[in-house]
Amino acid sequence: MASKQLIQIKINGRIREAMVEPRLLLVHFIRSIPGLTGTHVGCDTSHCGACTVVLDGKLVKSCTMFAVQADGCELMTVEGLSKDGVLHPLQEGFKQEHGLQCGYCTPGMLMSSYVLLQKNPSPSEEEIRWGISGNLCRCTGYQNIVKAVQFAANKMAQGEKHELPNIA
């Protein structure tokens, strides 16, 4: 067992510091150090996307990265999406369009959709489907997730400006 290292990761605006084994997966850091359990584990081959988070503006599957690799980075999880009790349009869209059932894939789906809309504020249906293709859902058949993302894109375009968390 290699010796532990001190790392610092800024998660949803707060600095989290811990001594960790180099082999600790980022997802386990997120779930255990600050106790942010919205980020889930659904597989062991980085296929399912339940653990998807935003790291320095980019989507990563946090089960496929060591926590030490995120040392000094800024990270956003599903818990950072709403602000001051106001839901992000994506969260609202998932509720309005019935874009979730068991809820297990939802945090990862929200993260992927979030980055998709940052890059492409008015995606086509096909672009949405590709944008969430790294995330598996076993319940919804994706159709209402697509609608949820469209709901958010429309709402954000209509100028009902939601202050997006600074992730860059």
Binding site: T37, G103, Y104, R138, C139, G141
Partner: protein
């Protein structure tokens, strides 16, 4: 059905948004792996790399010496407590941890407990197991061969045969076949697949030495039944066991059985007096927990030359793997497979099923399915298409000719069921009109002339869901009723507790809507709570589309009991007799004088503050509902495919699903269930398979090779409905969550076969991967 309540009240028929969503979209769900307890330990299972091997020794010394390891439990250790084996839910037993030998790859051999999950994984690597390989039996067709190795040495019967089950009139069926002018036959394998909910199985077992109580946080679709089984098998007083099934990340039948990991965690917690968490990995989930299907079926239809069906004969071989760990009602070794006569009217049928052991993971669970209904619906809908093809009759016309007519309900099926209600042709007509069937057939002809491949597949399925009735149905002896308890608080708000357990179906919303419908209390004011055996009334849980037919019915009945008491209180408050009162959702009023009324909220307050003399305080009721019959949802699905000749890839161009589940509680949630079920049906038809090589190595043991569709592959679903209420259900509902998974595989396969039918293709086994289609095209000379 038009709504009787306002959108604000949100009773039946309103597409109100889900109450449970707020926590999930904010990452505040509470799944089993989110449970963190002080001093918690972590379990890791050591698994067999071999499918069949003698266990020569398990050396745990090195593992025990690793710092942070508290215990390593083996099968021999469990045997001392008589826990090395446990009963399955179907008259068999299963090894918790192996003793003597292992019978499938990834079988549980030892359980390591450590302070940290990473240390537990390290220690598992240090457990040294000495195996002696034995001949492996993979093909169920060879299970009964004289030279087949006998897998289950623990059984008295030295055979790999588990059961023979038959239903129907064999002699009469054979007679019809002997005389029938037309006979057709299809051999169809419904491949082994796995429900694979996105959350794997797991638990936290927490034995508190100070109180003597054992709390088990469990991924359970049936927490009450599981509590009873832990009590019976473990010898723990049932009042000292509390099972909490928190948020469940999908179930689909995978979370009905009790798995070795749960038992090991409980044993470890009892032994160490600390909480023990065990969460399986995806690979463990796919390789060891309840698989579904693996039915090797033959269906024969006898008919006249016009295509009128006269009889059905079915013979099936069921591969159960190493242990018969099916989770189904005890009188039905092949579940409700005898629904295989389908939506068609003929008097004679015979069906037989033989179950066998192989060196594969144990199971035979119902994957989004009411106990083998999926296999049955697939088989009959395939067979009917083959008959149509052989008689050169349009598959729509053949179905229409054979449908049970609406005036024949309740319909006594030849294999013993009483279908409650149905109007099959009406649902098919909506589907045909929506898809534009005639134009599609014309297009297909034109395309064929140009050498292009296009197919149209139809499936007109009937389901049988919502078990009980209690006189026929039980799981491990416990009758299949279900329950609801409603308490109305003084301020007119309510809490509703159930014997079922949502895994994403939206129970917190739909049960509240039933209360809203029956009592007029807004759904927003009704809290629904499930999954805690200390607080909820006893029930059998959620699977087999039974929540709405059974617990939903219990909710309505409990609400009606409350309404009866409310009427007495209203009469007291309005100083009139009960007979002078009329009800509309939310209030009692004096007949002919509607301004003289008392709302349910007024009445609730009075139930605690101003009840009539001699009446008990409070406004609550509990109902244990025993359904008089099952419900029989149905529908017609039509699939249109185009096939790429160069690659063999099948593209689903359109899919129209018309469902009839009777009266609907929440149309938004019903549609969501249909989308999800269709997607799983699509995955089964084209992608999902747990295969094994000749040495018993799992070929679908991770998401690398057990393929699930992403948003890119998944087709766009078009839904429609007809409404034929169940005559015996309190509010005319049937079940729906499984219909799309039951009805759709045949539609997909029928469409692909239809595209290739002019080449003489009559059947292709699922999953229909591009290579299979391409091989057929090559064989038929369509491509080089």
């Amino acid at each position: 059905m038009s709504c009787r309540t306002s959108p604000e009240v949100g009773g039946m028929g309103h597409a109100i948004k889900r109450k449970e969503d707020l926590r999930f979209i904010q990452g505040k769900g509470n799944y089993v792996d989110d449970v963190q307890l002080p001093d918690m330990l972590y379990g890791q299972i050591v698994r067999s790399p071999y499918a069949h091997a003698r266990l020569k020794g398990v050396n745990t010394e090195k593992a025990k010496q690793l710092p942070g390891v508290l215990a390593v439990i083996t099968g021999e250790d469990l045997a001392k407590a008589n826990l090395a084996w446990m009963p399955t839910l179907f008259f068999d037993k299963q090894m918790v941890l192996a003793t003597g030998k292992v019978l499938f790859q990834s079988q549980e051999v030892a359980f390591v407990v450590a302070e940290d999950p990473y240390v537990a994984a390290d220690a598992a690597e240090l457990v040294e197991v000495d195996y002696e390989e034995l001949p492996v039996l993979v093909d169920p067709h060879k299970s009964l061969d004289p030279d087949a190795p006998i897998l289950r040495e623990d059984r008295e019967e030295k055979s790999n045969h588990i059961f023979h089950w038959e239903v129907g009139d064999q002699a009469a069926t054979n007679k019809v076949f002997a005389e029938a002018p037309v006979k057709t036959k299809v051999n169809a394998v419904f491949q082994r697949c796995h429900p694979s909910p996105l959350e794997t199985c797991g638990c936290v077992a927490d034995f508190n030495r100070a109180t003597g109580r054992l709390t088990i946080y469990l991924t359970s679709q049936a927490p009450h039944a599981h509590r009873t089984l832990f009590a019976i098998v473990g010898g723990i007083p049932e009042n000292n066991i509390r099972v909490i099934s928190p948020d469940i990340g999908g179930g689909f039948g995978n979370k009905v059985p009790i798995y070795p990991g749960y038992v090991c965690a409980v044993v470890a917690s009892l032994t160490l007096g600390r909480p023990v968490k065990w969460i399986e990995t995806r690979s463990e989930n796919l390789q060891s927990t309840g698989f579904a299907r693996d039915y090797h079926m033959t269906a024969e239809l006898a008919a006249n030359k016009e295509g009128k069906i006269q009889a059905l004969r079915v013979k099936t071989l069921a591969d159960h793997g190493a242990f018969n760990a099916a989770a189904q009602p005890t009188k039905f070794p092949a579940g409700l497979f005898s629904i295989c006569t389908g939506a068609y009217d003929y008097p004679t049928a015979f069906c037989e099923v033989d179950g066998v052991y192989t060196n594969k993971a144990p199971g035979g669970i119902a994957y989004r399915c009411s106990f083998r209904v999926t296999e049955a619906a697939y088989l009959i809908e395939r067979a009917v298409d083959v008959l149509a093809q052989e008689l050169k009759i349009d598959p729509v016309e053949l179905r229409r000719k054979n449908f049970i007519k609406p005036d024949k309900f309740p319909y006594a099926s030849p294999l013993g069921w009483s279908y409650d209600s149905g109007n099959y042709e009406a649902a098919m007509k909506v589907a045909l009109d929506t898809v534009g069937y005639d134009a599609l057939r014309k297009e297909q002809q034109e395309k064929r002339a140009r050498g292009e491949l296009m197919g149209i597949g139809i499936s007109s399925f009937v389901e049988i869901v919502g078990a009980g009735p209690a006189h026929t149905f039980d799981i491990a002896g416990i009758k299949m009723f279900d329950s609801c308890e409603i308490r109305v608080h003084p301020t007119g708000k309510a809490i509703c507790r159930m014997g079922t357990k949502s895994q994403g179906q939206g129970h917190e919303t739909t049960y509240a809507q039933i209360v809203a419908e029956e009592l007029g209390i807004p759904a927003a004011d009704v809290t629904v709570e499930e999954g805690d055996t200390d607080t909820a009334p006893y029930g059998l849980g959620t699977y087999a589309s039974r929540s709405t037919p059974v617990s939903g019915a219990a909710t309505a009945m409990a609400a009606r009991k409350i309404r009866d008491k409310a009427r007495k209180i209203a009469a007291h408050l309005l100083e009139c007799s009960e007979e002078d009162l009329d009800w509309e959702p939310g209030k009692f009023f004096v007949k002919g004088a509607p301004s003289k009324s008392k709302t349910i909220q007024d009445i609730a307050f009075a139930a605690y503050t101003n009840m009539p003399q001699g009446m008990e305080a409070g406004l609550e009721a509990v109902d244990y509902y025993d359904p008089p019959n099952l419900t029989f949802p149905f529908g017609t699905y039509i699939c249109v495919v185009d096939i790429d000749k160069g690659t063999g890839e099948v593209k689903v161009r359109r899919f129209v699903a018309v469902d009839d589940c009777g009266n609907i509680i929440n149309p938004m949630i019903v549609e969501g269930q249909i989308h999800g079920g269709l997607t799983e049906g699509f995955a089964i038809a084209f992608m999902q398979e747990i295969g094994y090589d000749e040495n018993g190595n799992v070929q679908g043991g991770s998401f690398m090779d057990y393929l699930l569709p992403t948003a890119v592959e998944t087709p766009v679903w078009e839904t429609g409905k007809t409404c034929t209420p169940s005559p015996h259900h309190p509010f005319g509902a049937k079940g729906v969550g499984e219909s799309p998974n039951v009805g759709s595989p045949a539609a997909f396969v029928n469409a692909v076969v239809d595209a290739l039918s002019h080449l003489g293709v009559k059947h292709i086994d699922m999953p229909i991967a591009p290579w299979k289609v391409w091989n057929i095209l090559k064989e038929k000379g369509v491509v080089n």
